[in-house]
Protein backbone atom coordinates (compact mmCIF):
# COMPACT_ATOMS: atom_id res chain seq x y z
CA UNK A 1 0.00 0.00 0.00
CA UNK A 2 2.25 2.78 -1.20
CA UNK A 3 -0.31 5.15 -2.62
CA UNK A 4 -1.05 7.85 -0.05
CA UNK A 5 -4.48 8.62 -1.44
CA UNK A 6 -5.50 4.97 -1.22
CA UNK A 7 -4.24 4.83 2.36
CA UNK A 8 -6.19 7.95 3.24
CA UNK A 9 -9.39 6.30 2.02
CA UNK A 10 -9.02 3.86 4.90
CA UNK A 11 -8.92 6.82 7.25
CA UNK A 12 -12.12 8.34 5.90
CA UNK A 13 -13.92 8.36 9.29
CA UNK A 14 -11.02 10.17 10.96
CA UNK A 15 -10.65 12.65 8.09
CA UNK A 16 -14.35 13.53 8.17
CA UNK A 17 -14.15 14.34 11.88
CA UNK A 18 -10.98 16.42 11.42
CA UNK A 19 -12.53 18.42 8.58
CA UNK A 20 -15.70 18.79 10.66
CA UNK A 21 -13.73 20.27 13.57
CA UNK A 22 -12.08 22.89 11.37
CA UNK A 23 -15.40 23.60 9.62
CA UNK A 24 -17.08 24.24 12.98
CA UNK A 25 -14.37 26.76 13.86
CA UNK A 26 -14.84 28.49 10.52
CA UNK A 27 -18.63 28.52 10.87
CA UNK A 28 -18.27 30.06 14.31
CA UNK A 29 -16.63 33.09 12.73
CA UNK A 30 -18.84 33.27 9.64
CA UNK A 31 -22.25 32.77 11.24
CA UNK A 32 -24.07 35.69 12.86
CA UNK A 33 -24.44 35.55 16.64
CA UNK A 34 -28.07 34.41 16.64
CA UNK A 35 -27.49 31.34 14.46
CA UNK A 36 -24.65 29.93 16.56
CA UNK A 37 -26.96 27.13 17.65
CA UNK A 38 -26.49 25.64 14.20
CA UNK A 39 -23.01 24.60 15.38
CA UNK A 40 -24.45 21.73 17.41
CA UNK A 41 -26.20 20.49 14.29
CA UNK A 42 -23.02 20.85 12.22
CA UNK A 43 -21.16 18.81 14.85
CA UNK A 44 -23.77 16.08 14.86
CA UNK A 45 -23.78 16.10 11.05
CA UNK A 46 -19.99 15.67 10.88
CA UNK A 47 -20.18 12.77 13.34
CA UNK A 48 -23.01 11.14 11.40
CA UNK A 49 -21.03 11.49 8.18
CA UNK A 50 -18.10 9.83 9.89
CA UNK A 51 -20.38 7.03 11.06
CA UNK A 52 -21.45 6.59 7.44
CA UNK A 53 -17.77 6.29 6.50
CA UNK A 54 -17.32 3.60 9.17
CA UNK A 55 -20.28 1.76 7.69
CA UNK A 56 -18.79 2.16 4.19
CA UNK A 57 -15.53 0.57 5.34
CA UNK A 58 -17.46 -2.23 7.04
CA UNK A 59 -19.40 -2.83 3.84
CA UNK A 60 -16.10 -2.99 1.96
CA UNK A 61 -15.18 -5.89 4.23
CA UNK A 62 -12.24 -4.02 5.67
CA UNK A 63 -13.23 -5.27 9.12
CA UNK A 64 -11.95 -8.79 8.56
CA UNK A 65 -8.72 -7.85 6.80
CA UNK A 66 -6.39 -5.67 8.88
CA UNK A 67 -4.69 -3.12 6.66
CA UNK A 68 -1.40 -1.56 7.80
CA UNK A 69 -1.20 2.08 6.88
CA UNK A 70 1.55 4.70 6.84
CA UNK A 71 4.57 2.46 7.44
CA UNK A 72 2.72 0.45 10.04
CA UNK A 73 1.98 3.33 12.41
CA UNK A 74 -1.74 2.70 11.94
CA UNK A 75 -3.81 -0.40 11.38
CA UNK A 76 -7.34 -0.30 10.02
CA UNK A 77 -9.17 -3.38 11.26
CA UNK A 78 -12.53 -4.45 12.64
CA UNK A 79 -11.36 -3.55 16.14
CA UNK A 80 -10.72 0.09 15.29
CA UNK A 81 -13.94 0.32 13.26
CA UNK A 82 -16.05 -1.01 16.13
CA UNK A 83 -14.43 1.38 18.59
CA UNK A 84 -14.87 4.25 16.11
CA UNK A 85 -18.59 3.54 16.09
CA UNK A 86 -18.64 3.65 19.92
CA UNK A 87 -16.76 6.99 19.99
CA UNK A 88 -19.03 8.45 17.32
CA UNK A 89 -22.09 7.38 19.31
CA UNK A 90 -20.61 9.07 22.39
CA UNK A 91 -19.93 12.18 20.27
CA UNK A 92 -23.41 12.30 18.72
CA UNK A 93 -25.13 11.86 22.09
CA UNK A 94 -22.64 14.36 23.56
CA UNK A 95 -23.46 16.98 20.92
CA UNK A 96 -27.19 16.44 21.42
CA UNK A 97 -27.03 16.88 25.18
CA UNK A 98 -24.76 19.94 24.82
CA UNK A 99 -26.93 22.01 22.47
CA UNK A 100 -29.25 23.58 25.03
CA UNK A 101 -26.68 23.75 27.83
CA UNK A 102 -24.08 25.63 25.78
CA UNK A 103 -26.67 28.30 24.89
CA UNK A 104 -28.04 28.60 28.40
CA UNK A 105 -24.67 28.86 30.15
CA UNK A 106 -23.23 31.15 27.47
CA UNK A 107 -20.23 28.95 26.68
CA UNK A 108 -18.04 29.67 23.66
CA UNK A 109 -19.84 27.43 21.23
CA UNK A 110 -17.28 27.40 18.40
CA UNK A 111 -14.41 26.26 20.58
CA UNK A 112 -16.69 23.92 22.53
CA UNK A 113 -17.86 21.89 19.55
CA UNK A 114 -14.50 22.01 17.78
CA UNK A 115 -12.79 20.60 20.86
CA UNK A 116 -15.47 17.95 21.21
CA UNK A 117 -14.78 16.88 17.62
CA UNK A 118 -11.03 16.92 18.22
CA UNK A 119 -11.57 14.76 21.31
CA UNK A 120 -13.49 12.24 19.18
CA UNK A 121 -10.70 12.42 16.61
CA UNK A 122 -8.12 11.68 19.31
CA UNK A 123 -10.14 8.66 20.47
CA UNK A 124 -10.45 7.33 16.92
CA UNK A 125 -6.72 7.77 16.31
CA UNK A 126 -5.95 5.91 19.54
CA UNK A 127 -8.03 3.01 18.27
CA UNK A 128 -6.22 2.79 14.91
CA UNK A 129 -2.71 3.29 16.35
CA UNK A 130 -0.54 0.24 15.89
CA UNK A 131 2.54 1.89 17.32
CA UNK A 132 3.20 3.37 20.75
CA UNK A 133 4.41 6.86 19.83
CA UNK A 134 1.48 7.42 17.45
CA UNK A 135 -0.75 6.16 20.25
CA UNK A 136 0.84 8.64 22.67
CA UNK A 137 0.29 11.63 20.37
CA UNK A 138 -3.34 10.59 19.76
CA UNK A 139 -3.83 10.19 23.51
CA UNK A 140 -2.54 13.74 23.98
CA UNK A 141 -4.92 15.11 21.31
CA UNK A 142 -7.79 13.54 23.25
CA UNK A 143 -6.46 14.59 26.66
CA UNK A 144 -5.79 18.24 25.86
CA UNK A 145 -9.25 18.56 24.30
CA UNK A 146 -11.03 17.20 27.36
CA UNK A 147 -8.90 19.21 29.83
CA UNK A 148 -10.00 22.39 28.09
CA UNK A 149 -13.63 21.22 27.80
CA UNK A 150 -13.70 20.57 31.57
CA UNK A 151 -12.66 24.16 32.20
CA UNK A 152 -14.68 25.85 29.49
CA UNK A 153 -17.41 27.11 31.84
CA UNK A 154 -15.30 30.13 32.66
CA UNK A 155 -17.82 31.76 34.94
CA UNK A 156 -17.62 28.96 37.51
CA UNK A 157 -14.57 28.41 39.73
CA UNK A 158 -15.37 24.69 40.08
CA UNK A 159 -15.02 24.25 36.33
CA UNK A 160 -11.55 25.83 36.32
CA UNK A 161 -10.49 23.77 39.32
CA UNK A 162 -11.75 20.59 37.70
CA UNK A 163 -9.71 21.41 34.62
CA UNK A 164 -6.61 22.06 36.72
CA UNK A 165 -6.94 18.86 38.69
CA UNK A 166 -7.63 16.84 35.55
CA UNK A 167 -4.76 18.50 33.73
CA UNK A 168 -2.12 18.08 36.43
CA UNK A 169 -2.94 14.44 37.10
CA UNK A 170 -3.41 13.73 33.40
CA UNK A 171 -0.06 15.25 32.46
CA UNK A 172 1.55 13.39 35.37
CA UNK A 173 0.13 10.11 34.09
CA UNK A 174 1.19 10.79 30.51
CA UNK A 175 4.71 11.28 31.90
CA UNK A 176 4.54 7.68 33.14
CA UNK A 177 3.11 6.54 29.83
CA UNK A 178 5.84 8.08 27.68
CA UNK A 179 8.61 6.93 30.05
CA UNK A 180 7.24 3.42 29.80
CA UNK A 181 7.21 3.71 26.00
CA UNK A 182 10.83 4.92 26.03
CA UNK A 183 11.95 1.98 28.18
CA UNK A 184 10.08 -0.49 25.97
CA UNK A 185 11.86 1.07 22.99
CA UNK A 186 15.16 0.64 24.82
CA UNK A 187 14.47 -3.02 25.58
CA UNK A 188 13.17 -4.07 22.16
CA UNK A 189 14.47 -1.48 19.70
CA UNK A 190 10.98 -0.85 18.35
CA UNK A 191 7.67 0.72 19.29
CA UNK A 192 5.44 -1.08 16.78
CA UNK A 193 3.06 -3.31 18.76
CA UNK A 194 3.44 -6.41 16.60
CA UNK A 195 7.21 -5.97 16.39
CA UNK A 196 7.41 -5.75 20.20
CA UNK A 197 5.44 -8.98 20.46
CA UNK A 198 7.74 -10.61 17.89
CA UNK A 199 10.89 -9.34 19.66
CA UNK A 200 9.72 -10.75 22.98
CA UNK A 201 9.30 -14.17 21.37
CA UNK A 202 12.35 -14.26 19.11
CA UNK A 203 14.83 -12.77 21.57
CA UNK A 204 13.36 -14.37 24.68
CA UNK A 205 12.76 -11.13 26.57
CA UNK A 206 10.36 -12.71 29.08
CA UNK A 207 12.49 -11.79 32.08
CA UNK A 208 13.91 -8.54 30.70
CA UNK A 209 13.45 -6.10 33.57
CA UNK A 210 13.62 -3.02 31.34
CA UNK A 211 10.72 -4.32 29.25
CA UNK A 212 8.72 -5.33 32.32
CA UNK A 213 9.09 -1.96 34.03
CA UNK A 214 8.22 -0.24 30.74
CA UNK A 215 5.07 -2.34 30.49
CA UNK A 216 4.20 -1.53 34.13
CA UNK A 217 4.63 2.23 33.55
CA UNK A 218 2.44 2.13 30.41
CA UNK A 219 -0.23 0.26 32.38
CA UNK A 220 -0.09 2.85 35.17
CA UNK A 221 -0.49 5.62 32.59
CA UNK A 222 -3.65 3.99 31.25
CA UNK A 223 -4.90 3.11 34.73
CA UNK A 224 -5.07 6.86 35.43
CA UNK A 225 -7.11 7.43 32.28
CA UNK A 226 -9.61 4.65 32.95
CA UNK A 227 -9.75 5.74 36.61
CA UNK A 228 -8.77 2.40 38.13
CA UNK A 229 -8.29 2.35 41.89
CA UNK A 230 -5.78 3.52 43.27
CA UNK A 231 -5.42 6.01 40.40
CA UNK A 232 -9.00 7.31 40.56
CA UNK A 233 -8.57 10.28 42.94
CA UNK A 234 -9.36 12.88 40.30
CA UNK A 235 -12.64 11.43 39.04
CA UNK A 236 -15.29 12.64 41.53
CA UNK A 237 -14.08 16.26 41.62
CA UNK A 238 -13.48 16.48 37.88
CA UNK A 239 -16.82 14.88 37.00
CA UNK A 240 -18.60 17.18 39.43
CA UNK A 241 -16.79 20.37 38.45
CA UNK A 242 -16.81 19.98 34.68
CA UNK A 243 -19.85 21.17 32.70
CA UNK A 244 -22.45 18.41 32.84
CA UNK A 245 -22.59 17.56 29.10
CA UNK A 246 -18.78 17.36 29.04
CA UNK A 247 -18.90 14.91 31.96
CA UNK A 248 -21.48 12.84 30.11
CA UNK A 249 -19.37 12.77 26.95
CA UNK A 250 -16.03 12.03 28.57
CA UNK A 251 -17.25 9.53 31.16
CA UNK A 252 -18.15 7.19 28.31
CA UNK A 253 -15.85 8.22 25.45
CA UNK A 254 -12.53 8.64 27.24
CA UNK A 255 -13.04 5.39 29.11
CA UNK A 256 -13.82 3.46 25.93
CA UNK A 257 -10.78 4.96 24.17
CA UNK A 258 -8.41 4.17 27.01
CA UNK A 259 -9.70 0.61 27.32
CA UNK A 260 -9.49 0.08 23.58
CA UNK A 261 -5.87 1.21 23.50
CA UNK A 262 -4.84 -0.60 26.70
CA UNK A 263 -6.36 -3.87 25.51
CA UNK A 264 -4.71 -3.60 22.09
CA UNK A 265 -1.31 -2.89 23.64
CA UNK A 266 -1.54 -5.73 26.14
CA UNK A 267 -3.01 -8.28 23.72
CA UNK A 268 -0.83 -7.51 20.70
CA UNK A 269 2.52 -6.48 22.18
CA UNK A 270 2.53 -8.24 25.54
CA UNK A 271 0.40 -11.32 24.97
CA UNK A 272 3.35 -13.58 25.74
CA UNK A 273 3.89 -11.75 29.04
CA UNK A 274 0.30 -12.21 30.20
CA UNK A 275 1.47 -14.24 33.19
CA UNK A 276 2.93 -10.98 34.53
CA UNK A 277 0.19 -8.45 33.81
CA UNK A 278 -2.87 -10.64 34.26
CA UNK A 279 -2.58 -10.84 38.08
CA UNK A 280 -1.90 -7.09 38.26
CA UNK A 281 -5.05 -6.30 36.27
CA UNK A 282 -6.95 -8.84 38.36
CA UNK A 283 -6.06 -6.88 41.50
CA UNK A 284 -6.81 -3.50 39.89
CA UNK A 285 -10.20 -4.79 38.72
CA UNK A 286 -11.08 -6.10 42.18
CA UNK A 287 -10.10 -2.89 43.99
CA UNK A 288 -11.85 -0.72 41.41
CA UNK A 289 -15.14 -2.65 41.54
CA UNK A 290 -15.29 -2.79 45.32
CA UNK A 291 -14.20 0.76 46.07
CA UNK A 292 -16.22 2.36 43.26
CA UNK A 293 -19.44 0.70 44.37
CA UNK A 294 -19.06 1.18 48.11
CA UNK A 295 -18.12 4.87 47.72
CA UNK A 296 -21.09 5.47 45.41
CA UNK A 297 -23.52 4.45 48.17
CA UNK A 298 -22.55 7.38 50.35
CA UNK A 299 -23.14 10.07 47.70
CA UNK A 300 -26.03 12.50 47.82
CA UNK A 301 -25.18 14.42 44.64
CA UNK A 302 -26.19 12.56 41.51
CA UNK A 303 -23.15 13.72 39.51
CA UNK A 304 -20.81 12.40 42.19
CA UNK A 305 -22.78 9.18 42.45
CA UNK A 306 -22.43 8.65 38.70
CA UNK A 307 -18.71 9.47 38.99
CA UNK A 308 -18.14 6.66 41.48
CA UNK A 309 -20.42 4.47 39.40
CA UNK A 310 -18.16 5.10 36.41
CA UNK A 311 -15.18 3.97 38.50
CA UNK A 312 -17.06 0.77 39.31
CA UNK A 313 -17.79 0.16 35.63
CA UNK A 314 -14.11 0.64 34.81
CA UNK A 315 -13.57 -2.23 37.23
CA UNK A 316 -15.95 -4.49 35.30
CA UNK A 317 -14.16 -3.69 32.04
CA UNK A 318 -10.76 -4.29 33.65
CA UNK A 319 -12.06 -7.72 34.63
CA UNK A 320 -12.77 -8.30 30.94
CA UNK A 321 -9.21 -7.36 29.97
CA UNK A 322 -7.79 -9.46 32.81
CA UNK A 323 -9.57 -12.48 31.30
CA UNK A 324 -6.90 -12.46 28.57
CA UNK A 325 -6.69 -16.24 28.41
CA UNK A 326 -10.26 -16.32 27.09
CA UNK A 327 -8.91 -14.63 23.95
CA UNK A 328 -11.41 -13.05 21.61
CA UNK A 329 -14.26 -13.81 24.04
CA UNK A 330 -12.60 -11.52 26.60
CA UNK A 331 -11.83 -8.75 24.14
CA UNK A 332 -15.27 -9.03 22.55
CA UNK A 333 -16.95 -8.67 25.95
CA UNK A 334 -14.94 -5.50 26.66
CA UNK A 335 -15.90 -4.01 23.28
CA UNK A 336 -19.56 -4.86 23.80
CA UNK A 337 -19.49 -3.39 27.29
CA UNK A 338 -17.91 -0.18 26.00
CA UNK A 339 -20.83 0.21 23.57
CA UNK A 340 -23.46 -0.61 26.19
CA UNK A 341 -21.88 1.66 28.79
CA UNK A 342 -21.75 4.56 26.32
CA UNK A 343 -25.49 4.29 25.64
CA UNK A 344 -26.68 3.80 29.22
CA UNK A 345 -24.32 6.23 30.94
CA UNK A 346 -24.80 9.16 28.55
CA UNK A 347 -28.52 8.38 28.73
CA UNK A 348 -28.45 8.72 32.53
CA UNK A 349 -26.50 11.98 32.30
CA UNK A 350 -28.98 13.26 29.70
CA UNK A 351 -31.79 12.78 32.23
CA UNK A 352 -29.72 14.61 34.84
CA UNK A 353 -29.47 17.45 32.30
CA UNK A 354 -33.23 17.40 31.73
CA UNK A 355 -33.82 17.79 35.46
CA UNK A 356 -30.91 20.22 36.00
CA UNK A 357 -31.12 24.00 36.23
CA UNK A 358 -28.82 26.90 35.35
CA UNK A 359 -25.38 26.91 36.96
CA UNK A 360 -25.46 23.20 37.71
CA UNK A 361 -28.53 23.37 39.96
CA UNK A 362 -30.93 20.56 40.83
CA UNK A 363 -28.37 17.82 41.04
CA UNK A 364 -29.10 16.39 44.46
CA UNK A 365 -30.67 12.98 44.75
CA UNK A 366 -33.54 14.61 46.66
CA UNK A 367 -34.43 16.57 43.51
CA UNK A 368 -35.60 13.29 42.00
CA UNK A 369 -38.36 12.74 44.56
CA UNK A 370 -41.67 12.12 42.87
CA UNK A 371 -40.39 12.74 39.37
CA UNK A 372 -42.63 9.95 38.06
CA UNK A 373 -45.81 11.75 39.09
CA UNK A 374 -45.22 14.84 36.98
CA UNK A 375 -42.96 13.55 34.27
CA UNK A 376 -43.64 9.85 33.76
CA UNK A 377 -41.66 9.55 30.52
CA UNK A 378 -38.49 11.15 31.85
CA UNK A 379 -38.74 9.04 34.99
CA UNK A 380 -39.26 5.89 32.91
CA UNK A 381 -36.11 6.70 30.93
CA UNK A 382 -34.08 7.26 34.09
CA UNK A 383 -35.45 4.04 35.59
CA UNK A 384 -34.38 2.15 32.48
CA UNK A 385 -30.83 3.55 32.63
CA UNK A 386 -30.54 2.85 36.34
CA UNK A 387 -31.74 -0.74 35.92
CA UNK A 388 -29.29 -1.19 33.04
CA UNK A 389 -26.37 0.29 35.02
CA UNK A 390 -27.16 -2.05 37.89
CA UNK A 391 -26.99 -4.98 35.47
CA UNK A 392 -30.52 -6.32 35.70
CA UNK A 393 -32.36 -7.93 32.78
CA UNK A 394 -33.86 -7.28 30.29
CA UNK A 395 -31.46 -4.40 29.63
CA UNK A 396 -28.16 -4.06 27.81
CA UNK A 397 -26.29 -3.68 31.09
CA UNK A 398 -27.29 -7.20 32.09
CA UNK A 399 -25.97 -8.76 28.90
CA UNK A 400 -22.79 -6.68 28.99
CA UNK A 401 -22.01 -7.94 32.47
CA UNK A 402 -23.05 -11.45 31.54
CA UNK A 403 -20.49 -11.59 28.71
CA UNK A 404 -17.71 -10.23 30.91
CA UNK A 405 -18.64 -12.82 33.54
CA UNK A 406 -18.58 -15.49 30.86
CA UNK A 407 -15.08 -14.40 29.76
CA UNK A 408 -13.82 -14.37 33.36
CA UNK A 409 -15.13 -17.89 33.94
CA UNK A 410 -13.58 -19.14 30.71
CA UNK A 411 -10.26 -17.66 31.80
CA UNK A 412 -10.70 -19.53 35.08
CA UNK A 413 -10.85 -16.34 37.14
CA UNK A 414 -13.50 -17.71 39.50
CA UNK A 415 -12.66 -15.35 42.36
CA UNK A 416 -12.92 -12.29 40.13
CA UNK A 417 -16.24 -13.49 38.72
CA UNK A 418 -17.66 -13.90 42.23
CA UNK A 419 -16.37 -10.43 43.15
CA UNK A 420 -18.05 -9.00 40.06
CA UNK A 421 -21.41 -10.46 41.05
CA UNK A 422 -21.08 -9.27 44.66
CA UNK A 423 -20.02 -5.78 43.55
CA UNK A 424 -23.07 -5.62 41.28
CA UNK A 425 -25.29 -6.57 44.20
CA UNK A 426 -23.90 -3.61 46.16
CA UNK A 427 -24.59 -1.35 43.19
CA UNK A 428 -28.26 -2.29 43.12
CA UNK A 429 -28.73 -0.32 46.31
CA UNK A 430 -27.69 3.06 44.98
CA UNK A 431 -29.08 2.68 41.46
CA UNK A 432 -32.45 1.38 42.54
CA UNK A 433 -32.65 4.04 45.26
CA UNK A 434 -33.02 6.60 42.47
CA UNK A 435 -35.90 4.59 40.99
CA UNK A 436 -37.49 4.33 44.41
CA UNK A 437 -37.17 8.11 44.96
CA UNK A 438 -38.80 8.82 41.61
CA UNK A 439 -41.72 6.45 42.00
CA UNK A 440 -42.51 6.04 45.69
CA UNK A 441 -41.66 9.35 47.37
CA UNK A 442 -43.83 12.45 47.22
CA UNK A 443 -42.26 15.45 45.47
CA UNK A 444 -40.77 18.23 47.62
CA UNK A 445 -42.20 21.74 47.86
CA UNK A 446 -40.56 22.97 44.67
CA UNK A 447 -41.29 20.35 42.03
CA UNK A 448 -38.59 20.14 39.38
CA UNK A 449 -39.27 22.11 36.23
CA UNK A 450 -37.79 20.34 33.28
CA UNK A 451 -35.74 21.60 30.41
CA UNK A 452 -37.84 20.90 27.34
CA UNK A 453 -35.09 21.06 24.73
CA UNK A 454 -36.01 18.64 21.93
CA UNK A 455 -32.34 17.72 21.34
CA UNK A 456 -32.06 16.58 24.95
CA UNK A 457 -35.22 14.49 24.68
CA UNK A 458 -33.95 13.03 21.43
CA UNK A 459 -30.74 11.99 23.22
CA UNK A 460 -32.67 10.35 26.06
CA UNK A 461 -34.87 8.55 23.54
CA UNK A 462 -31.93 7.38 21.41
CA UNK A 463 -30.04 6.07 24.42
CA UNK A 464 -33.14 4.33 25.79
CA UNK A 465 -33.88 2.62 22.47
CA UNK A 466 -30.25 1.48 22.24
CA UNK A 467 -30.27 0.11 25.78
CA UNK A 468 -33.40 -1.88 24.97
CA UNK A 469 -32.18 -3.13 21.59
CA UNK A 470 -28.78 -4.14 22.95
CA UNK A 471 -30.54 -5.89 25.81
CA UNK A 472 -33.21 -7.75 23.83
CA UNK A 473 -31.63 -8.34 20.40
CA UNK A 474 -27.90 -8.27 21.06
CA UNK A 475 -26.77 -10.74 18.41
CA UNK A 476 -25.93 -8.25 15.64
CA UNK A 477 -23.83 -5.94 17.82
CA UNK A 478 -22.30 -8.86 19.67
CA UNK A 479 -21.33 -10.47 16.42
CA UNK A 480 -19.58 -7.31 15.27
CA UNK A 481 -17.75 -7.07 18.60
CA UNK A 482 -16.64 -10.68 18.31
CA UNK A 483 -15.35 -10.24 14.74
CA UNK A 484 -13.61 -7.04 15.81
CA UNK A 485 -11.93 -8.80 18.72
CA UNK A 486 -10.78 -11.61 16.43
CA UNK A 487 -8.81 -9.20 14.23
CA UNK A 488 -6.64 -8.40 17.25
CA UNK A 489 -6.38 -11.80 18.90
CA UNK A 490 -5.81 -13.78 15.68
CA UNK A 491 -2.46 -12.00 15.28
CA UNK A 492 0.36 -12.99 12.99
CA UNK A 493 -1.32 -11.47 9.94
CA UNK A 494 0.89 -10.54 7.02
CA UNK A 495 2.32 -7.04 7.12
CA UNK A 496 1.26 -5.11 4.03
CA UNK A 497 1.46 -1.31 4.18
CA UNK A 498 5.21 -0.49 3.96
CA UNK A 499 5.86 1.74 0.99
Amino acid sequence: MSNSAAQLAYLAPELVVAVGAVAVLALDILLPERSRRLLARATAAALLASLAAVWWLYAGEVAGRPERLFTGTLVRDGYSLFLDAVFLLAGILGALVSARYVDREGLQSGEYYALMLFAVLGMMLMAVSAELVTLFISYEILSLSVYVLSGIARGRAESAEAAMKYFLLGAFSSGFLIYGIALIYGATGTTALEAIGAAVMSRGLFGNSLLLIGMALVTVGFAFKVAAVPFHGWVPDVYQGAPLPVTAFMSAGVKAAAFGALARVLFTAFGSLSAVWQPALWLLALLTMVLGNTAAIAQTNIKRMLAYSSIAHAGYMLAGVAAYTAGDVALGSVLYYALVYTAMNIGAFAVVLVVGREGEGNQELSDYRGLAVRHPWVAAGMALFMVSLSGLPPTAGFLGKFYILNAALRANLIGLAVALVLASLISWYYYLRVVWLMYFIKPGEAPPTLSGAPSLRLAVGMAAVLVLILGLWPSAALNLAQVAALTVTAGGLPVIGRP
Partner: protein, 100 residues
Protein backbone atom coordinates in the same frame (compact mmCIF):
# COMPACT_ATOMS: atom_id res chain seq x y z
CA UNK B 1 32.79 5.52 26.04
CA UNK B 2 30.17 5.93 28.72
CA UNK B 3 27.73 3.00 28.38
CA UNK B 4 24.12 3.77 27.46
CA UNK B 5 22.96 2.33 30.74
CA UNK B 6 24.62 5.18 32.66
CA UNK B 7 22.55 7.73 30.76
CA UNK B 8 19.39 5.72 31.35
CA UNK B 9 20.08 5.64 35.08
CA UNK B 10 20.58 9.43 35.15
CA UNK B 11 17.28 9.74 33.34
CA UNK B 12 15.63 7.52 35.98
CA UNK B 13 17.01 9.77 38.72
CA UNK B 14 15.71 12.92 36.99
CA UNK B 15 12.35 11.25 36.38
CA UNK B 16 12.05 10.34 40.06
CA UNK B 17 12.93 13.88 41.14
CA UNK B 18 10.12 15.06 38.87
CA UNK B 19 7.68 12.56 40.41
CA UNK B 20 8.75 13.63 43.91
CA UNK B 21 8.17 17.25 42.94
CA UNK B 22 4.63 16.49 41.79
CA UNK B 23 3.84 14.64 45.00
CA UNK B 24 5.54 17.10 47.35
CA UNK B 25 4.79 20.58 46.07
CA UNK B 26 1.59 22.54 46.56
CA UNK B 27 2.13 25.30 44.03
CA UNK B 28 0.46 24.22 40.79
CA UNK B 29 3.15 25.97 38.73
CA UNK B 30 5.94 24.03 40.40
CA UNK B 31 3.98 20.78 40.13
CA UNK B 32 3.74 21.52 36.42
CA UNK B 33 7.47 22.30 36.20
CA UNK B 34 8.14 18.92 37.81
CA UNK B 35 6.05 17.27 35.09
CA UNK B 36 8.18 19.04 32.47
CA UNK B 37 11.24 17.63 34.22
CA UNK B 38 9.77 14.13 33.90
CA UNK B 39 9.37 14.63 30.15
CA UNK B 40 12.97 15.83 29.90
CA UNK B 41 14.15 12.73 31.70
CA UNK B 42 12.31 10.66 29.09
CA UNK B 43 14.12 12.59 26.35
CA UNK B 44 17.50 11.87 27.90
CA UNK B 45 16.93 8.12 27.89
CA UNK B 46 15.60 8.31 24.32
CA UNK B 47 18.79 10.09 23.23
CA UNK B 48 20.82 7.35 24.87
CA UNK B 49 18.85 4.63 23.09
CA UNK B 50 19.14 6.50 19.78
CA UNK B 51 22.92 6.40 20.04
CA UNK B 52 22.89 2.77 21.18
CA UNK B 53 20.81 1.70 18.20
CA UNK B 54 22.45 4.11 15.77
CA UNK B 55 18.95 4.94 14.65
CA UNK B 56 17.32 8.28 13.93
CA UNK B 57 14.03 6.91 15.29
CA UNK B 58 14.93 7.62 18.90
CA UNK B 59 15.72 11.22 18.02
CA UNK B 60 12.43 11.55 16.12
CA UNK B 61 10.65 10.46 19.32
CA UNK B 62 12.39 13.27 21.20
CA UNK B 63 10.98 15.77 18.72
CA UNK B 64 7.50 14.37 19.31
CA UNK B 65 7.92 14.59 23.09
CA UNK B 66 9.05 18.21 22.65
CA UNK B 67 5.90 18.94 20.64
CA UNK B 68 3.71 17.30 23.29
CA UNK B 69 5.48 19.24 26.05
CA UNK B 70 4.96 22.52 24.21
CA UNK B 71 1.27 21.77 23.66
CA UNK B 72 0.82 20.80 27.31
CA UNK B 73 2.46 24.01 28.47
CA UNK B 74 0.16 26.19 26.37
CA UNK B 75 -2.98 24.51 27.72
CA UNK B 76 -1.69 23.97 31.26
CA UNK B 77 -0.66 27.56 31.85
CA UNK B 78 -3.99 28.79 30.46
CA UNK B 79 -5.78 26.51 32.94
CA UNK B 80 -3.64 27.66 35.85
CA UNK B 81 -4.31 31.27 34.86
CA UNK B 82 -8.06 30.56 34.79
CA UNK B 83 -7.93 29.09 38.31
CA UNK B 84 -5.94 32.07 39.55
CA UNK B 85 -8.57 34.48 38.22
CA UNK B 86 -11.20 32.80 40.39
CA UNK B 87 -9.25 31.94 43.49
CA UNK B 88 -6.24 34.29 43.65
CA UNK B 89 -4.05 31.29 44.47
CA UNK B 90 -2.53 28.34 42.69
CA UNK B 91 -2.20 26.17 45.78
CA UNK B 92 -3.33 22.66 44.96
CA UNK B 93 -3.67 21.70 48.61
CA UNK B 94 -7.42 22.12 48.80
CA UNK B 95 -7.73 20.10 45.61
CA UNK B 96 -6.76 16.80 47.20
CA UNK B 97 -4.25 15.77 44.57
CA UNK B 98 -3.06 13.05 46.88
CA UNK B 99 -6.46 11.70 47.88
CA UNK B 100 -6.40 8.13 46.64
Amino acid sequence: MVPTIAYVIVSAVLFTIGVAGVLLRRNALIVFMSIELMLNAVNLSLAGFARQFGSATGQVFILFVLAVAAAEVAVGLAIILAVFRHRDTVDVDNMNLMKW
